[in-house]
Point group: C2
Chain length 143, copies 2
């Protein structure tokens, strides 16, 4: 699992032409260790623990590169700061608009959906992402 991921990382960097620097590696590690979906600033704080020299701007740039080459996924929920997720297995997340908790939604296949999109548009699809928001059971009970 880790080996495959490792191979995938190297492969995607090689094909993109970007170099796998220690900073970009550190951002990936932070996303792997972080439970949940950190914002850029949370990633920054995480990375900083091990390497206090990194700057916030570097994290932004690293995240941007990692998203571009498809190693991570950006979740743009309506709440502002963009949140990031390791792009391992395709899955969908739902986010509670009240407490912010994020949960996965099983049983939704993205493949056929992406395929249908490609069939119905002449565009070259580079990114398809489902943004789902709702109210978690806890917050439903509280209200």
């Amino acid at each position: 699992m880790v080996g495959a991921l490792e191979h995938d990382i190297r492969e995607k960097f090689r094909r993109s032409g970007y170099t796998l620097t220690s900073q970009r590696r550190a951002v990936l590690d932070a996303l792997k260790d972080f439970k949940g979906h950190p914002s850029a600033e949370e990633v920054y704080l995480f990375v900083k623990k091990r390497n206090p020299k990194v700057a916030l701007g570097t994290v932004y740039q690293a995240l941007s590169v990692l998203e571009e080459i498809g190693l991570i996924e950006a979740k743009r929920w309506s709440e502002t700061p963009v949140r990031y997720d390791l792009n391992t297995n395709p899955h969908h997340d739902i986010r509670c608009t009240k407490c912010g908790e994020v949960a996965e939604i099983p049983g939704i296949e993205l493949e056929d959906f992406a395929l249908r999109i490609r069939e119905n548009t002449p565009y070259e699809v580079t990114n398809a992402c489902l943004v789902i928001e709702g109210i978690c059971p806890g917050c439903q009970a509280a209200s």
Copy 2:
């Protein structure tokens, strides 16, 4: 068509408890007349033509209310300013990340998808929106 829309507008305002003010009406009109998917600022400029007194903040607030009661839809593409669309018939848009052009994708049904989401999560789903980006045929040819 217009009558039905008109009825829908009044109905959604009535149920929400918000009042249908002239400013909110003007924002709706701007979205109806505007070809494409304007940003908040573009809506503001459009509204300002007829009523120069409106403030940008008012437009933001109106858009927020209209989105909350389901009359309009916010498109959060990766490019920053949020873009808005009249929420008439459910459809999906794809946006070219190079030139910014937006096109509709026919043949994609959201209903069964939304249903599957509801079946697979205990969350009360309030918002489900598909963000799709790609490269338009023109930009593909240019590159």
